[in-house]
Symmetry: C2
Subunit: 333 residues, 2 copies
């Protein structure tokens, strides 16, 4: 974790709330903040279909207040939000397919609960500094590449519609109510502690599981361009957005060092693993209908404003991720 603006000085002794703190990015963020001396409180539902996993805080759990609570449980929110100085808002339903088969659950978490969190802040802690985990999914199928923050927002699935509403509430509360909120539009994020049990959080998860189990993994389509952010780089973006006053009310894309096709990614993963097999398959029809085609982010805005850039190249990101799961695999499947 680079420390260009002295995160220790900014976070030591500060009260930080993280929703989804037992999840992939949330737990890596928790670990970073503990390293800087922050007092971290976590909300996580540990819903089995989502990213939360107690193993993600192995070795540090005793230094964190952990509330197994659901952001849909509104009465608990005011008590949790009160007196916090920072709120990293990462709780979410991430599966695009699940959002199509169970749209109301996606809405209740990604849209309705977000408004409840913001109302709790407005009423009980209007000075809290919020960073919200948004997603490139809200752009839908790109009109042009790379996609910058001015690209039209035309989500192609229920998850994208709800995440867009959730992001919009954050920016509205910043503009109208003076809540200091920043939204980061994440692309595919990979690294230790991601969900590998299935493709609900990222398709790379199930690829890694299959690879480590010695089974071939499936690449759907294969030609789509994508960019990948290593989790430590994503964590740095959340921290920067939280401490830089000029980030309040802003929205920033996060991207990766360079885009690759999914087939290229599969090849890099097999190479990083020192072997393995994959098969390129046609898209399933129900998945094709909500696919966004090629995507990669123009992330120069956060570079100019906050000095962030993705530092970890893809082979390194894949190697570190595989290293983690070689020993930790059994806790994640």
């Amino acid at each position: 974790m680079p420390d260009p603006i002295d995160f220790r000085r900014r976070f030591a002794g500060r009260r930080v709330l993280i929703t989804g703190g037992l999840g992939f990015i949330g737990s890596n963020l928790t670990r970073a903040l503990l390293g800087f001396g922050a007092k971290v409180t976590i909300i996580d539902s540990l819903e089995p279909a989502y990213g939360g996993n107690r193993r993600n805080l192995a070795g540090v759990a005793g230094r964190v207040k952990i509330h197994i609570a659901d952001v849909r449980d509104w009465p608990r929110l005011p008590g949790l939000v009160r007196n916090q100085e920072f709120l990293f808002n990462l709780a979410g339903q991430t599966s695009h397919m699940d959002s199509m088969t169970d749209p109301q659950t996606d809405l209740d978490i990604n849209c309705r609960a977000q408004l409840a969190i913001l109302e709790a802040c407005r009423q009980h802690n209007p000075k809290v500094r919020i960073v919200f985990a948004s997603t490139r999914q809200i752009y839908g199928r790109p009109d042009y590449l790379p996609v910058d923050e001015k690209h039209p927002l035309r989500p192609v699935d229920v998850n994208g519609i709800n995440k867009l509403a959730g992001e919009s509430f954050h920016l509205l509360y910043a503009r109208v109510h003076g809540i200091q909120a920043t939204a980061l539009r994440l692309t595919n994020t990979i690294g230790p502690r991601m969900r590998i049990k299935d493709a609900r959080q990222t398709f790379v998860g199930i690829w890694i599981r299959r690879l480590l189990e010695g089974r071939p993994f499936e690449v759907w389509g294969g030609g789509q361009l994508r960019d990948f952010t290593y989790v430590d780089d994503a964590v740095e973006a959340f921290l920067l957005a939280a401490v830089r006053p000029e980030a309040a009310g802003m929205v920033f894309n996060l991207g990766g060092p360079r885009p690759v096709t999914l087939s290229q990614l599969a090849g890099l993963l097999v190479k990083a693993n020192g072997g393995g097999e994959f098969a390129v398959r046609e898209f399933p029809a129900d998945r094709q209908k909500i696919d966004i085609g090629d995507y990669y982010a123009d992330d120069r805005l956060i570079g100019r404003r906050l000095g962030w850039k993705p530092r970890t190249d893809l082979p390194t990101a894949l190697r570190r991720t595989l290293e983690y799961y070689r020993t930790e695999w059994r806790h994640y499947v």
Copy 2:
């Protein structure tokens, strides 16, 4: 009501469900459909803060099945949706200010219930033809005038965010699930049976109330450009969108004959009334924060595709509206 494509032939004996059917546009639509021989069922919550009013169906209520039900009451939706051939989906929370002070109620009606309605259709009546009442509010502050359907969608209040999600669900269900849904983005609509008790549905309502009570009304700002659709013209657009197969999956703006400033509108209203007073006031601060500035619609797309245009000029619209409330006033205040 003009009848360019023989609405009687298209609607006679057909089963039609109207959400918000006791409201302003819903009740005018109900009356038109009864005139064409349709079998109309209505859902309306009669929530006192919204547009529903039993007086709106005076003289025809006996020919309509009326369910006093809330679209937030999901268990009732499948039974209501089943076997309907058309669904005019107009139930909504319309107050921008209320959406800021009670955002969750706005979300539950304008966003969450819309998804529940669509899920009920998908599961129990996927062949139903839906026309959804969307709003120009989803555009936010215009980048250019007149605003066409390609204008960026950047809502400036909670109501706009939720209506955008509600519209997006309709178009997504059209694209992915084959539900035949059309969205109409309404601008200010005026006419008999609108709410005049306060400004919750349209500011023109409270203007008319004050005028008929012999009191001065307040114009906030005054210089903002707006367009106004007479309700009979809006009703015609709903009917056209429902019967034209090429409208499925589409979104269309509705506009008025020509834009006027709010001060001009106030002058026209006083003239139509044969007297009255108004005062131009500064915007209240909380209202200013969510104001969209100038707006008027480019409605040529629905003109080209469906042959619709606003036929009723503004002086005529105002005169007919005032005529209605001169005798009906006491049922609306």
